[in-house]
């Protein structure tokens, strides 16, 4: 069984090929994952701890119950690259009677949302900054119709409906940010990039974001893997000391 896992891991690693080399251009690629809190995973590994309900004796991994966040199965992780130039993109959202799909979205300000209203009533959507005063309202969208709306604000936002509390999408918006949606453990790549410094951002709505500055050089590919956990996101806040007594500025 162990050899089967090893073989699978080797096959997966060999699939993580590097981007094609383009003259005068560079690329960044890697794998984005998410994981449970390190204290939790350490407890699972410690066989003397009282965590039998959560320990898979075969893989020594975590057994996720229905009421738990299954970090190995998350499928709305995002990676974003902030570019010096950017052409606005389009993102599709579906308003169902009890929820929005997808439930989170990373995008650039200036991008367009195409919202399909599959509910039985007219919706008045708006965007609100979770942490500040940023706000933007959209014209009404009648039942069964779709329409395009341009997002003009940046930050940690929520798309909400004035008429239905269940319709909510958590947004992360940043100017000139090209984004890719990934599932945990999936590979990403941004290629054909002129040599320069870039901001690379990894985000999951519940855990927050990790930002990195990367240097792209001509005819070179750089690999940046990242794992989003509560711990890694907290550490990414510069100068932040995490414990029970010291405030995190």
């Amino acid at each position: 069984m162990k050899y089967l896992f090893l073989l699978t891991a080797l096959l997966l690693f060999s699939c993580t090929h590097t981007p094609e080399i383009i003259v005068d251009k560079g690329a960044v690629f890697g794998v984005l994952s998410s994981d449970a809190h390190p204290s939790f995973t350490n407890k699972i590994r410690d066989k003397s701890s009282s965590a039998d309900d959560y320990r898979d004796e075969n893989s020594q991994g975590v057994i996720y119950h229905d009421n738990m966040v299954n970090y190995s199965q998350l499928n709305e992780l995002y990676v974003g690259l902030v570019l010096p130039y950017y052409t606005p993109r389009e993102h599709h959202l579906f308003a169902e009677p009890e929820k929005m799909s997808p439930s989170s979205l990373a995008l650039s300000s200036g991008d367009m949302l195409k919202i399909q209203n599959n509910t039985s009533s007219t919706q008045h959507f708006f965007i609100s900054d979770i942490e500040g005063e940023g706000f933007q309202s959209f014209p009404e969208l009648q039942a069964g119709q779709n329409a395009y709306f341009t997002v003009n604000i940046e930050g940690n936002l929520e798309l909400l409906s004035e008429d239905n509390d269940a319709l909510k999408v958590v947004l992360f918006s940043k100017k000139n940010m090209l984004t890719k949606k990934l599932f945990s453990g999936q590979r990403y790549q941004f290629e054909n990039l002129p040599p320069d410094s870039y901001q690379l951002i990894f985000w999951y709505w519940r855990l927050g974001k990790i930002e990195k500055t990367i240097r792209i050089e001509a005819q070179k590919n750089i690999r940046v893997d990242e794992t989003l956990t509560v711990d890694s996101v907290m550490r990414s806040y510069h100068g932040c000391v995490i414990n029970r007594t010291i405030d995190c500025k």
Partner: protein
Amino acid sequence: MKLQPITLLLSSLVHFLFIPPLLAGSVSGQVQAPKQVKELIIYLTSDNALNQNEIPQKHIISQKDIRFKPELSIIMTNDSIEWENNESKEIDHNIFSLSPVNRFDLGLGEKGSKFERSFKKNGVLNYYCSVHKEMEGKVIILPNRHYQHLVQSTDFKIDNLPEGEWTLNAVVFHRRYKAEPIKVTIRKETIKNLSLKIVKR
């Protein structure tokens, strides 16, 4: 005997600095809000820093049946919260927040564990358990205890207000709306029939 005027002066100064302001008045009235606004917190703020004599309190939040109870806490700056894991079974919980007003990760707590943290800035804080997907809570941190939490209700009355210039405002839970703040001057009489308007942003 020559020191007597100075003693009197110092005594008056001490009295001025340390005697709490008179609890003089109250405000009451109605919230004018559309039907979508079902829950809000009416609160008063003043530049006079009148909460300096208020003693910080400790609030308890229980982690029970894989929920934070209560899910909403309203506290004052410098108050603290103690999270207690009161699960009946061996269930671990984590408490973390990425809200700019106070970012923290309190680690993993077993059944019976207690974590405490104090809050020094006003604002709204959302926190989660990283283990369980339905576990989330909200803390509203206000500058004083002059507030009223309204759920499906529009009448408010806030008593025991010290004299001074105050602003009546509201935390509106429906984010399409905001309150139009009102300036009020508290003297010894009660101010009645105030109308706090909740309008679209």
